[in-house]
Symmetry: D2
């Protein structure tokens, strides 16, 4: 088995050409940049990477490109969920061959499975996978992995970690309390960078964070500051990252705000495969401004010509959204939410 | 365009051989039986058919077998959701070639999309599909289709109906009120046979009901009684169907209780592709008994030797489950539910 | 014990004077009108009656007025939930003295209690109440009463019925299947008039419906048509009632749309005790129009001068609300819903 | 106006005598002990204090006793929510007279109000209260207070803080980011002590924590360690507190586990007003053991004779609960959750 999985892994977006095909040169250029900017690892076929919108063949190709380009400089955590256990195990074998450090497998989705079924699914994979497995818990999208289940699964040596995207810090602490005493090598990664510093302080080994594909210098800095005990400075940056994270999260249906933001760093990501209406185009000018100011605040770039607004909690945006409250409620009651 | 879609369509389970491959002869034998028992149509690649646990190639093969076997005797509504719009449109084309009456396309799942994104997704399909499209709303598993969205989508002639599995009768009525005046040809199908009679009385044109793959004679009888105005008798059978439906729904993670029940009608369905622990094996003896008694009540078979229990709302089962309430609550609070 | 509780009970709004005090003369006049219009019973201190916004003394006074005014012509079902079991039992005693037919007691709210706690709470009341008790299940507001719990509670003779406001028809059927065989005298009342006809066809004995305080002639007609087997005509009116129900439900935070609608029938209900901003005033002109057209459709009044729009599912309103979808989603993600 | 509200406030349980009446001498003794153990403030009529299960007169009496006993040594934050705005303002006036530092007012509950209604409710109170007001957000029990609403309410000088019991760290950060720049005196208190250290590091001014009524020495130590920058030691104790917190939270319906735990510290709290079945009695022996070991770990007492188990995430308890997973799922599907 390999080393314990630690640090910030990037669940990267996949650049597409105008015909919607994987843009391989741009993907390679983007991976190269991420490594240069200091990410600790790469995570193709995550939720940010829209694994579900690619065919099985395309998912393989993406991992192959990423492993080739990384060339051992940083570890690769390859998303390997396929249609069923057999297909998933076949992908595990392929990704082992490509040199991935481990695979990440999301809990079964669409059907909402019971804890016993979630356990049985991962047990089957743990018993036959030729490569280390990290569990992927994302309860807003897939069957939840609860604390008793993670404990039972941690008895399989092949399972070496969990990525949790619930954003629930106390749930993370419950998992750590339940598993770490018996499995000190087990890795806890948070998928919720809005609370990255607190998660690291609570014992996480790292994160798989979409924001690290946009501002890898910032997430790395956050990680390093926290590890070296500079908590106040880390929290200051955490608040800035939250501002950017919210802008990317709320500007479009996930993960399109992240795709738009990577564009602003100089990569031609192209449109998502989920079609968008005109009204859905992310306001890149607004996003650009937030991104620019945050990077300037952290000394990574100059301030924009017009200056940056004082950081006051997005007052104007809030006021606007609040005006719509009555409409919102009506829609909510009609079954929207 | 074809006739309006009406009646009971069967979202059938797919028999698998011991190696987990599609058992084609048994699938053909099963389809033949369903047609003989009076189902109005067939619906391969539905949720009951575990479309997600097959590969793209397998999904095509399933539809091909079903269309061949149906041979025009009953219409086929083919589940055509694939990884993205392009792949889905390719499946639509293929299924048109196989002779399917229409395709059924589930709302985007995993990611929870906004109404605008759901609209844009289906609009793209409606504009390019060579075959009629029915929407598939199943909010416990996929992005919800709300009333304003269904109204907007009903403006596309290619979209000819919706299958709703929310089980919410009033939501169904709101959809009918919103769409029917402008699109009298638009078909409303309920996926919730526990309320089939009330749904038909409220204006539904039919249903796509997993139970019709187990007791096609009963769901057909229900449909015919309701259509001929014999409401009291229909409701009497509706309550029996509810008992069976609940037994299949709650005896295992969906759809495994339905798979086990089809077995009891004399078909070798084989195990699901979702692995199961020993404790998860459906209690087929208990399920058999419920099934046997319900069919006997309706005159389709003799009563079992030991007789049937009085219908008293599953008192014993309830009492047992209630004892676990404290445990349940504890688990629920820990994030299980 | 009294007769089985059947028919449509009105959970009426309480008229308030400009100082926010109970307007007793108007309340008496309103009760008189409701009886004249054919409601089968009265239900003071329900959710529509905003029981929670009155003091314990005011709640008693409301029941006293209603019982006096009813004077035995129709039965009174008095909402009796107070701060704890002791206070609730004291209210039961008082309401028995006033001549109420039974009390209705909502499941414990605020705290979300386990089924065992819900059972124990009602058991304590059942053992000591001097008056028949109906349970009140309203899971969007209070701890849910599940099927096993209703079964256990139905073993107490003092408990004679349940009012369910979940709106879930199949849940109602499960309760009926579980309880009716052993307690044919037990009463099932639906609080969801949007599905009143289907609920009655499924076996409900009646309803406690806020709409019956606005259009008592219509809910009575619905009830009578269904009981006499005129299902098609009943469903036609059901759809009209749904239109009005939605208008009242979605025009304001519940129950203010109902309060505004009673005003339009000629009663001075006054403002709610929940303060409202200017933007929250119900658009009474719009509500008036819907109400007027529905009553005209049913022959209860003349059509308005400007005529009524074709019934096409509120297209315009839908289109407007849909424009706000992006805003909605943003707010929802921020924790609004 | 008074000083900024900071530190750990205790939302204390109310001791009851065998007849269920307020046990005044024991309440005074308990308050005295809490002050001696170092809590920064007191919080009568919170959710832990079961404010809803007392009459309006009893709530006043509780605050009076607490204010008298505190006698200015620590500030009192008095829960003042009553049936409506008028009654609530009357309570505010009374509590100002008793010498409370501020009142805490929970967002409207039972009815789920829209953000606009929540705003209007608190605005009305802010404009007329003679005493400082802290908002109380507890979305699992009451209408949620969202970020735009807190921002709008922070414009009223009378509103001086918020207690948030959502347990969502990122939501807390969003509130702080939105309000603090314009209102540096505004106080953010977390009600979720399972994450007390991270919440303090993220900028909270303190907490109102039920656990501080059980182990006031531990919560105080946590607070002091965090404030003095000893994060590692603080996190070590945080994990212990989590173990105790979970034991109290999951051993009974909230807040009964906390009531049982205070008993174990030597106070006669008596039974709750919510009746309990035999099966619901908290296992005080088990709870005692956890409590004893945690206090011993922190040096506050000797270890128990039989020693303490290694801290391994409650493996045994987890294994037991997991066995019930199938039952749980069944119940959940039936509408329990």
């Amino acid at each position: 088995m390999g080393d314990k999985i630690t640090g910030i892994f990037t669940p990267h977006v996949v650049p597409l050409d105008p015909e919607g095909r994987i843009n391989e040169p741009e993907l390679r250029r983007y991976i190269e940049w991420l490594i240069a900017m200091g990410v600790h690892g790469l995570y193709p076929n995550g939720s940010t990477g829209e694994f579900l919108r690619f065919t099985a063949d395309e998912r393989r190709r993406i991992v192959q490109i990423v492993c080739q380009q990384a060339a051992g400089r940083v570890p690769v955590l390859a998303g390997a969920a396929e249609a069923n256990v057999r297909e998933t195990l076949a992908a595990c074998e392929t990704y082992a061959g490509y040199g991935a450090r481990a695979v990440a497998i999301v809990s079964p989705f669409y059907y909402k499975l019971s804890p016993e079924s979630v356990f049985t699914y991962f047990r089957e994979i743990a018993l036959h996978s030729p490569i280390d497995v990290t569990l992927y818990n994302i309860p807003m999208f897939a069957s939840p992995i609860d604390v008793p289940t993670i404990r039972r699964l941690a008895e399989f040596p092949r399972i070496v970690g969990i990525k949790d995207s619930s954003g629930d810090l106390v749930f993370m602490m419950r998992m750590i309390a339940a598993v770490r005493p018996g499995r000190p090598d087990f890795s806890f990664l948070t998928g919720w960078e809005a609370a990255l510093v607190p998660m690291l302080l609570a014992g996480c080994d790292g994160g798989t964070n979409a924001s690290s594909g946009v501002v890898p210098e910032l997430t790395r800095q956050l990680y390093d500051l926290t590890r070296s005990g500079q908590i106040d400075e880390a929290m200051r940056i955490q608040y800035r990252l939250l501002e950017l994270f919210d802008a990317m999260l709320f500007s479009a249906d996930f993960p399109d705000g992240f795709r738009a933001a990577v564009d602003l760093r100089g990569f031609a990501m192209g449109p998502s495969r989920q079609p968008q209406s005109e009204s859905q185009q992310v306001d890149r000018v607004a996003l650009q401004k937030v991104l620019h100011c945050i990077l300037a605040d952290s000394g990574y770039t100059e301030y924009p010509a017009g200056g940056c607004p004082a950081r006051t909690g997005n007052i104007d945006r809030d006021r606007i959204t609040h005006l719509s409250a009555a409409v919102v409620e009506e829609l909510r009651k009609r079954g929207l939410a």
